[in-house]
């Protein structure tokens, strides 16, 4: 495919990132692609699936390839908000209150098993994710830029979990389901190709500055008016769908635009095409929907795909 010369930094980075991640997370091109869409569009990522399919591996791998500071939070029921954001302590030497930043102050934050912690702690994450800042004792502290949060959760566990409320799910740009590996991939894992063991070999391919520039480039990717219409149309149609109790918010359209831009850049294009919108729509929209039968990511994804399959694409 002809690749225009003006596709710059971000595309190169995306290629590099994809290659690096593929070495560790074997046979999962779609989760890798969507994880990078979240990263490059400046959003946050939620990895969802049953235990043992590599959720944490993907999250860790993404954290490693992005340079800069990295913190990991293992969410537990007794985790307190202050343990995430940090606390003010009185410094005896300087005779004043001093802020000790918590683990959220990092470029990449991995929140493992996010649904195991209490709603109180989960909600502390809200402000951090959306506003990229935390407030402790009335003082607001900006989080580092870039700030990329990767969370994992097992949706099929019920005992001792606190399912994310709709507002929090909305904060994640993309939700990825890992899916079971194929037979060949599983065999490769057994033979020592990729997997947790190879995580140590993974090196950062991008530094915070590079990521900032890449995100800026993604966000300025050209989007034709017809494509903007095409972004709004599925959201509107989904909202009007009778089986949807709570539809996608206007924020989701903005997120969908950024995600489609990231997808375009990763595909080597300097503009958003309807194909890009289509390939990220389900991942961006489905976790925001509340169906009349209750939250069900699978059914929601099916519904979004069926709606997208009925919305006419712009002809040009």
């Amino acid at each position: 495919m002809a690749r225009p010369a003006d596709v710059g930094l971000a595309n190169g980075l995306a290629t590099e990132l994809t290659r690096a991640l593929s070495q560790v997370v074997r046979g999962k091109p779609r989760p890798i692609r969507l994880a990078l869409v979240a990263l490059l569009s400046g959003g946050h990522l939620l990895v969802e699936d049953v235990p043992g399919v590599g959720k944490t591996l993907l999250a860790k791998a993404v954290a490693r390839v992005v340079g800069g500071s990295f913190r990991r939070i293992q969410a537990t029921p007794d985790l307190l908000p202050a343990e995430l954001t940090g606390v003010s302590v009185f410094s005896a030497q300087r005779e004043e209150w001093e802020f000790r930043p918590g683990p959220l102050f990092a470029n990449v934050v991995l929140v493992d098993e996010i649904n195991r912690t209490t709603p109180r702690t989960q909600s502390a994450l809200l402000e951090a994710m959306e506003e990229r800042q935390v407030t402790v004792d009335g003082v607001t502290y900006a989080l580092p830029d870039p700030f990329f949060l990767v969370a994992t959760q097992n949706p099929f566990e019920h005992a001792g979990t606190f399912p994310l409320v709709e507002g929090q799910r909305d904060r994640f740009a993309v939700v990825v389901e890992m899916g079971l590996p194929g037979r060949e991939t599983e065999r490769e894992l057994l033979l020592g190709h990729g997997g947790v063991d190879s995580l140590g070999e993974l090196e950062a391919v991008i530094d915070p500055r590079g990521l900032r520039a890449a995100v800026a480039e993604v966000r300025s990717t050209h989007c034709a008016p017809a494509v903007a219409d095409y972004i709004v149309d599925p959201s509107t149609a989904v909202r009007a769908h009778p089986e949807v109790r709570l539809g996608a918010s206007p924020r989701s359209s903005i997120t969908l635009l950024h995600a489609a831009r990231a997808q375009a850049v990763m595909g080597g294009r300097s503009f958003v095409s309807p194909d890009d919108v289509k390939s990220v729509a389900a991942a961006v929209l489905s976790h925001r929907l509340v169906l009349s039968g209750g939250p069900d990511l699978h059914a929601a994804a099916t519904l979004v795909r069926s709606v997208v399959d009925r919305v006419p694409v712009p002809r040009g």
Binding site: H241, T302, G316
Partner: protein
């Protein structure tokens, strides 16, 4: 199989109809039609009772819809046979071949069948039969009707019949098995089907309304077009014509004149004949329908509808004539009348002066009286046959007819007249030889009291250059038209004054009595036999019933001039009645504009301005809306871009291979799909990427890329 079983099998019931709404709609339609027929005077008390029982019959047949009903059918069949027998019996009393007499018993028979049928309408098919036969009843009522009252029955019937057709169709649809739903993905089927179904039912209602209104519009347009284009009902060619009397009340003086509507204003009674007072003003009470006509009387009857006349052409409906003039008052020289008696129709013999005339064109007139009036029998000039309910009528020497009974409202009779087929040329050709006037005519219709000198001079001066009698008449008419004014408000006639002189030289205004009298006097003075006739102008034709509606104010007096070989010919400068030789009506809708103009309310002038202004505004607004829509469409229809053209070519190539593009498929997806299907080569997907870039990147692709795409599309057969 026994005969009884066979009968049962043949009469096996269809599925009973459960819809009560449908039954009610059919009942209303049948009831409206039956009442329409009954109000036209069909049937006796028994039939009226049966019509009143219609709702009960429908209720019964609804309750019995699931029953076998064999014995009911048998009973109904017997009852229908009885009705038919009664119909045959009633035919025995009428003359063979007289259709008009058959039509009433036939309508009665049909009504009976309909009423009996109402007892056994279990299925939709039976109800629909009821609706169709109610249409026939409406047609019967339409034939019998002479007034606009039928309109209300027609409206009720039309609404009910339309409703029952719709309800029957709906009921038929509900009996069909529902269509299976289209299979869909499990997760969305329920919700989506709810969505789609809802949308469909809304759309369906819109479609039904559109279809119904379109049908109504077409029917109205076709009916209006037919109404305006079709010729009117032609001359009745009947065998027997309607005639009826509500009550037979002999008049006091057999052969004499009786006009109860004049009351105390009757000059014959001597009282109330005030100078200049309009006493004879009640409806039929035109003072001309009396033994004498005083031209000093003023005032005219009101606008009451006095009678309806069914005739194929307009004419003067003449009541009687006057021959003796004394300078102020018209009287009859003789009251001697001849008794005509016999069956209906009654042949009317010719009177002196009219004997041996060639037969003219026949004009059948049926008079339906609405008010009690004089016992004169109206008829266009020269009645030859009379259909009259009373066997005895009286003929005066002038040829006009009088009844021996009082003619009250709801009486009807038919006169067949032979009208001389005259035109201007024929009248000019039939010029009078003064010596050739038969003595009988000359004695009665040339006598005059002394004519004032001024009148005499005027008559001679006006007609000096007129070569024929016809031209003399026209000359006098023309002079009066130019020099006098028609008005109902004229000063009282001074005592001792000559009415003609007063009108022509003093007042110079007058109404029909003065105008016609002047014409008669001047003609007699010139040696031309003439007389004064009184009666009615044709009245206004109601285009919907085809009947002439004659009102009290249509009472009129006009002159009749005698022509050898033609007889009496009416002349009147004020009434617009064509000569018999001229053409008649051209369209069924003739007279509709004047009919409507007379009935529609007269809005004030500003209302017309407002309506016109609103209409102009509405048209302008509609134009602006339309223009904007056109402009918007033109704007939306911008020229197709190169990318769109390429997509169209690719679609054509795919469609040619039986693989249409789905609207939700992008160019690249479509190209990939075609590629998997073995269309083109790897460059196809590259071309799709270029097309996508051209469409959405905001920058046109290079000429080289375009050439590449064109080449690829050409290879896969995408025609430009």
């Amino acid at each position: 199989m026994s005969v009884l079983e066979r009968l049962k099998q043949v009469n096996a019931r269809a599925e009973p109809e459960e819809s009560v709404a449908l039954r009610v709609a059919v009942l209303v339609a049948v009831l409206a039609a039956a009442l329409a027929v009954v109000t036209q005077g069909v049937g006796g008390p028994l039939l009226r009772l049966a019509v009143a029982g219609l709702p009960g019959a429908f209720w019964f047949s609804h309750h019995a819809r699931h029953r076998d009903g064999f014995w009911l059918k048998l009973g109904l069949a017997i009852a229908v046979l009885v009705a038919f027998g009664s119909f045959l019996g009633s035919l025995g009393g009428v003359q063979a071949g007289s259709l008009a007499t058959v039509q009433i018993p036939l309508a009665e028979l049909f009504l009976w069948v309909q009423l009996l049928h109402a007892l056994d309408v279990p299925a939709r098919r039976d109800l629909m039969f009821s609706v169709v036969s109610s249409l026939v009843l409406m047609a019967v009522a339409g034939v019998l009707s002479i007034s606009m009252n039928l309109l209300w029955y027609l409206v009720v019937w039309a609404v009910a019949a339309a409703a029952s057709l719709v309800l029957a169709y709906r009921s038929e649809l509900s009996a069909l098995p529902a269509l299976p739903a289209r299979p869909r993905a499990a997760g969305e089927r329920r919700a989506e089907s709810a969505l789609v179904h809802d949308g469909r039912s809304r759309g369906a209602r819109g479609r039904v309304v559109r279809a119904v209104s379109a049908t109504v519009a077409i029917v109205v347009a076709v009916a209006t077009g037919a109404f305006f284009l079709l010729p009117p009902a032609g001359q009745a060619r009947g065998l027997t014509f309607p005639s009826r009397l509500a009550k037979v009340l002999p008049v006091p003086n057999q052969g004499g004149l009786s006009n109860p509507s004049l009351g105390s204003a009757d000059p014959a009674k001597g009282g109330g004949r005030g100078e200049g007072k309009g006493e004879g003003a009640a409806s039929f009470g035109y003072f001309g329908f009396s033994d004498s006509l005083d031209t000093g009387t003023r005032g005219r009857p009101d606008n009451t509808l006095v009678m309806r006349v069914r005739a194929s052409k307009p004419d003067f409906w003449r009541g009687q004539t006057f021959d003796v003039w004394d300078g102020r008052r018209w009287t009859l020289s003789t009251e001697r009348s001849r008794v005509l008696s016999g069956g209906s129709p009654l042949g009317v013999p010719a009177v002196p002066g009219e004997a041996g005339l060639p037969p003219g064109s026949e004009l059948v007139q049926t008079y339906y009286l609405e008010q009690t009036g004089p016992n004169v029998i109206f008829g266009a000039n020269r009645a030859t046959r009379l259909y009259f309910p009373d066997p005895r009528v009286f003929q005066l020497p002038d040829g006009t007819l009088r009844a021996g009974v009082a003619l009250q409202g709801k009486a009807a009779y038919t006169v067949v007249s032979s009208r001389p087929a005259v035109t201007e040329e024929i009248l000019r050709a039939a010029d009078l030889d003064p010596a050739g006037v038969p003595p009988a005519i000359a004695a009665r219709y040339l006598a005059l009291p002394p004519v004032p000198a001024r009148v005499s001079q005027l008559a001679r001066r006006l007609t000096a250059s007129a070569p024929t009698v016809y031209d003399k008449v026209r000359a006098v008419e023309a002079w009066m038209g130019a020099n006098t004014r028609y008005s109902l408000d004229i000063p009282p006639l001074p005592k001792g004054a000559d009415a003609v002189e007063q009108y022509l030289f003093e007042d110079r205004t007058g109404f029909c009595e003065q105008i016609a009298t002047s014409l008669v006097v001047m003609m007699r003075h010139l040696g031309v036999p003439a007389r004064l006739a009184v009666g009615f102008t044709p009245g206004q034709r109601n285009p919907f019933t085809g009947l002439y509606e004659v009102r009290g104010s249509d009472a009129h007096a006009w002159a009749e001039v005698w022509f050898p070989g033609i007889g009496w010919q009416a002349f009147d400068p004020t009434a617009n009645v064509p000569l018999a030789g001229d053409g008649g009506l051209s369209r069924a809708s003739s007279g509709i504009s004047s009919y409507l103009a007379a009935r529609l309310p007269h809005p004030p002038a500003w209302a017309v301005d407002v309506v016109v202004g609103l209409a102009v505004l509405a048209v302008a607004a509609a134009g602006v809306v339309r223009l904007r829509a056109v402009l918007a469409r033109r704007r939306a229809r911008r020229p197709a871009s190169w990318a769109e053209a390429c997509l169209a070519r690719l679609e054509a190539a795919g469609a040619a291979r039986g693989r249409q593009r789905r609207p939700s498929e992008t160019v690249r997806e479509y190209a990939a799909s075609l590629r998997r299907g073995g269309v083109g080569d790897a460059r196809l997907e590259e071309a799709a990427a270029i097309v996508t870039r051209d469409a959405f990147s905001g920058e046109p692709v290079t000429a080289g890329e375009r050439a590449l795409v064109d080449k690829v599309l050409e290879d896969v057969g995408g025609k430009t």
